[in-house]
């Protein structure tokens, strides 16, 4: 389950946000604190997560303290799916 979510998140981020389809991201790579994802794209991630997994991430949580990497985001989603 976790692996599937990670793959889906990776595809979304590399294709629609980084505009580099096929790019491989390390699951631990910092995405927000590193500047790889800009603040304009954070709302896209929140909307994608909500549409795909039915999980809400509040806008006040859209920062590197809540999740910074693919694995952290996948774990956050799983913890809220239960």
């Amino acid at each position: 389950m976790k692996d599937t979510i990670i793959l889906q998140l990776e595809e979304k981020i590399t294709t629609d946000i980084l505009m580099q389809p096929g790019l491989i991201l390390d699951i631990h790579q910092p995405l927000i604190s590193s500047g790889l994802i800009d603040s304009f794209s954070l709302v896209d991630i929140a909307l994608f997560v909500e549409d795909t997994y039915g999980v809400q991430i509040d806008d006040t949580e859209l920062n590197a303290d809540t999740f910074d990497s693919l694995i952290e985001l996948a774990e956050l989603i799983l913890s809220r799916m239960e």
């Binding site: 980084l18 505009m19 927000i32 604190s33 590193s34 500047g35 790889l36 994802i37 800009d38 603040s39 304009f40 794209s41 954070l42 709302v43 896209d44 929140a46 909307l47 806008d59 006040t60 859209l62 920062n63 590197a64």
Partner: protein, 558 residues
């Protein structure tokens, strides 16, 4: 003639209990700040400047995030008669070293006598100081007292004295600090309020950063100095939840909003129905598109998304503004609709004449920025400086009584910007029946989301990536209709033929640019040595390289 101090004194004496602003912060209750509270709290900052012997007319740099400290320190600096200059706060993704370099550059050019910041940021600020520099005090917000009765020393400032400094970010932008006098700012605010027919029923709602002219003038000083309520939210909160703007408009019956073009797309595309329950936008009488190229399509997107929540088409408005004219140059859409016309694309781009399209020829929608505000004259000049007639494209030149005093401490740049008393904007456009249309720009600047980006700053960052040929990088913008703003492309030369190595270089350029400028590149194109076109004087010809890139890579911006 008055100064800003006269205006503040009058507000304090005549309407102390009226609301100056509602300060919003996601996750907290809104703060309601009266005129009296704004000015008495500002005294806390003023007293501190007094204690450190900071003189009226000296520059005070403010390094704060959106919030109370920023607002009280700004007005405290004004009360003291010192010159406020805002420096954007360090965001989490910018590398501290880069930020420190910008802070140093700003200190060098503006020569501040004091810097106000948070206690937690004091060490960062001190790290940018050098022996013998101008800074005599670093004051932290936590030390400010709660204030007291303001004393308005009206003799402190004269109308022609500099009131504030305004900067674009980036090393190049910081070099051009725009110095505006009390007279210029008051002339702009008075005339612009007239043009907008501002009355006591108006409420301005803004999420715009205050270090940007649109945020500082339209979304801050105009309401606070003219005396109508402001609802101020953080750009940080808005970008994560654009629906918050709609909620604020609905809750406070907002009437006037300024947005850069991309925000029309962003709000329309990132707001869902569930965010809009019970939201009513019918109070809006103008949503003013300003500070980057205006797109008819963006207006349509916005209208289609929000009409069902009471947004009226007649509230769409346009404006051409620049910090050098304090803010507005033109305004459209207030007294009737602004013009939108279909213009022949080939004629526009090749002949530089905006002809109405005939038949099935390719066309572009041109959106009028409206008529010049009454204190500002506009003319269109050809390359020889002759005025052009209607529909002919040339450089836009301005004359007004709200013009900058100078680029601060840069008499060389100031002098070059004027010809026979007319300010050369560096933007291209044409006039038609007294209305101004903007078609492009002469300067290389890229505008991303309303923010001015100098390509040379991005190129300089990319030079540091190992494997990139020294000095052989070019950055330029390409407009995206999908996003409603420009996206940045970098082309870099390298000697290697190894594909993995090229990928590594491209990735490193992306990272270094993101961390050094907060710009996410749309495309990095790695090429062989000799690809980049330079002019005979050795300068990078960005528009030629842009055309070459589009042709060669078959790159399609959506």
């Amino acid at each position: 003639m008055k100064t800003i101090l006269h205006i503040l004194k009058s507000h304090y004496e005549n309407r102390p209990e009226e609301i100056a602003l509602y300060l919003q912060q996601a996750g907290h209750d809104d703060m309601v700040i009266s005129v009296k509270e704004l000015l008495t709290r500002a005294v806390g900052a003023q007293q501190m400047l007094e204690e450190y012997n900071i003189n009226p007319g000296e520059v005070v740099m403010l390094v704060f995030q959106h919030g109370e400290s920023l607002i009280y320190s700004y007005f405290g600096t004004i009360l003291h008669g010192a010159i406020p200059s805002l420096m954007p706060y360090l965001t989490e993704k910018l590398q501290p070293e880069r930020y420190r370099a910008e802070l140093k550059a700003l200190i060098e050019i503006t020569q501040p006598a004091a810097i106000l910041t948070y206690a937690a940021f004091e060490a960062e600020v001190r790290a940018s100081l050098m022996d013998g520099d101008s800074v005599r005090a670093v004051i932290v917000a936590e030390d400010l007292r709660l204030g007291g009765e303001p004393i308005f020393d009206l003799e402190r400032r004269k109308p022609e004295d500099i009131f504030l400094l305004q900067h674009s970010s980036g090393t190049t932008g910081l070099q051009k600090g725009i110095a505006l006098s009390h007279r210029s700012v008051l002339n702009q605010i008075n005339i612009y309020a007239d043009v907008l027919h501002i009355s006591k029923d108006d409420v301005i709602v803004s999420w715009l950063p205050l270090y940007h002219d649109m945020g500082l003038i339209a979304g801050y000083l105009l309401p606070l100095l003219h005396g109508i309520p402001l609802v101020l939210m953080s750009p940080f909160d808005w970008v994560r939840a654009p629906y918050r703007l709609m909620h604020a408009i609905s809750q406070y019956k907002g009437t006037l909003v300024w947005l850069p073009n991309f925000a029309y797309n962003f709000c329309a595309q990132k707001t869902r129905g569930r965010h809009m329950e019970n939201v009513d936008l019918s109070s809006l009488r103008a949503v003013i598109n300003c500070s980057e190229p205006m797109q008819h399509e963006s207006h349509e997107l916005f209208f289609n998304a929000f009409n069902q929540y009471g947004f009226n088409k007649s509230a769409l408005a346009t404006c051409y503004a620049m910090a050098e004219n304090t803010f507005a140059v033109t305004q459209g859409g207030i007294d009737g609709l602004f013009m939108v016309e279909k213009v022949d694309r080939v004629s526009l781009q090749i002949d530089r004449i905006a002809k109405p399209v005939i038949g099935e020829e390719p066309f572009v929608y041109m959106v009028s920025a409206g008529k010049p505000i009454p204190n500002t004259s506009v003319k269109i000049l050809d390359n020889q400086g002759n005025a052009l007639s209607d529909r002919f494209i040339g450089e836009i030149a301005l004359q007004s009584d709200c013009m900058l005093t100078e680029y601060y401490h840069r008499p060389d740049i100031t002098e070059k910007s004027f010809i026979d008393g007319w300010f050369l904007t560096g933007d291209y456009g044409y006039l038609l029946d007294g209305e101004l249309f903007i078609t492009g720009r002469k300067k290389d600047m890229i505008i991303v989301g309303g923010k001015n980006i100098y390509p040379q700053d991005l190129e300089r960052l990319a030079f540091d990536v190992p494997g990139v040929h020294p000095g052989r990088v070019v950055a330029f913008g390409i407009f995206s209709n999908q996003i409603g703003t420009e996206q940045v492309v970098i082309v870099a030369e390298t000697d290697t033929n190894d594909e993995n190595e090229k990928t590594r270089i491209a990735q490193e350029i992306r990272m270094i640019v993101a961390q050094g400028s907060a710009i996410v590149l749309r495309k990095v194109y790695i090429v062989k040595k000799g690809w980049i076109i330079k002019t005979s004087s050795g300068k990078t010809a960005r528009s030629y390289n842009r055309d070459k890139f589009i042709k060669e890579s078959s790159f399609k911006m959506d």
